[in-house]
Amino acid sequence: MLKVATVEGKTPKIKRKSEFIVVARRLSKNSSAVIGFVVAALLVFMAIFAPLVAPYPSAKQDLAHTRQAPSAQHIMGTDELGRDIFSRIVWGSRYSLSIGFLAVLIGTAIGMLFGASAGYFGGVVDDIIMRLMDVLQSIPGILLVITISVVLGPGFFNTLLALSIGGIPMGCRLTRAAVLGVRHQEYLEAATSINASTPRIILRHVLPNSFAPVLVSSTMSIGNIIMMAAMLSFIGLGVQPPTPEWGSMISGGRTLIRTCPWMVTFPGIFIMFTVLALNLFGDGLRDALDPKLKK
């Protein structure tokens, strides 16, 4: 039994590794995907090394220099409390980016579990899970997240939780579709015939094969989630001032839009470029994983 298990365990790994290299090579030929990846990487870099990148601490007030237009000392100007906007954007990237990645990660993982169970077990389990997903998806995304946020209240972890739940239906549906597609394949019958246990079958065979579409979808969702987080902060939920989350920075600068337009403009530009980079990369990833759709 041990021998068979190791043989069974070896093959998928080898296949996955060489597949990975092939995909990576295809991806590297797509210039916009590469640009997206580089920009996203730079932003992550900026978030991780914020103390080194930002010229000022995010909370540092300089009441003598409030509402300054962009200048040499403050390349993106200052806000109503004299805080350097560029620094706040850099520090804020930690919140915005981590919410994006973590919410998608958690939401997709839970969604995949639901989807795999629904697809594999079928019957009542499938019905219940799909009904639940139907209900969840009948509420336009941001509204569902708002509802949960109202109960949980503002704050980083609460917002993270609310956004994760919003991401579940997508992962669930895609995984379920992939599982249904793969369910009757012969190698699953073979695995069952050698008495491999059900969870093992799901983990070892089913999930790796549903990986690709979920991966593409998740990458594109990250940008969407970041925008939703910003929207939440904007309407008073989400992450609130003084935390320099990009959405709340825009919200804070709204009243001063006539006199200090830089307060609203720059955080938004960063949101846009972050989401753009992730979307470019996601697009390229989809093309690389399914070459039939390529040029």
Partner: protein, 307 residues
Amino acid sequence: MIPVILGVTILVFTILYFIPGDPIRLLLGAEPTPAQVEAKRDAMGLNDPYLVRLGRYVEGIVFHFDFGKSWVYNTPVTSELLQRFPRTLTIAVICMLMQIVIGTPLGIIAAVNRNGWGDRLSMFIAMFGISMPNFWLALMLILFFSVKLGWLPPFGIGGLKYYILPCIANAFPGIATQARQTRSSLLEVIRSDYITTARAKGMSEFRILMRHALPNALLPVITIIGNGMGMLLAGTVVIEMIFGIPGVGWYLVGGIGNRDINVVQSSVIFLAIAFTLIMLLVDLAYAFIDPRVKARFAGQNRRKQHA
């Protein structure tokens, strides 16, 4: 459809049931006594058990279309929603029309000129479109057209010009998505075998596009329109807030600020119902147009008649 609406209502109600703190306390002003709070809660029926409250709420909606009263203002929520919804819907519909009328041709041009400059340019713009937060775009538009140029009003409702900026801001991501989806759908259809068959018949590329490619390509795009409406309805939440348009979205945001739970849950459920109805219409339209689905549909009906 009914079970879904029921499910949504139960879900939203249940989630908001667990709101921490006590909004009622806040209502009663400065330092109310616990007795006063309890009395108020009793009067509002909030001390009843979960199922009773849920039953009352659901029954009110299903049989009387009555969403109850605002906790803060004690005004009927239903009339507010009905009065405000036309404005929200107007914006959503205008945006959807823009999405179809501008986005679809852009996508077609991009697909037909594949990899040409038209394709690259429109896809480039589309990429920006789906990456821009709509509330930020709204603020930028206000900045440019109202503050700097003074052409368009940034606030309120009134004539047509008040709707221009909100609709552009809300529609831009949708237009971009529509262009991208149309393009990819068309590109996929163009590689189909029946397109080669059409060529072998001696049809010109233009005729093939019009009679074979587009009808097949635009079919799946119809479902995207349904989903897009959902996003537009949801997007109006911030758009109304920014432009001061008294629609359902602004009502919802107000309710959040006031911790007026009934306003929040009713607004969300109302919008969810609207969304579900629209999706139903879209599904019906799709079934009507696609002969493969129509046949299945008709087949089921015939079976039911004979059963």
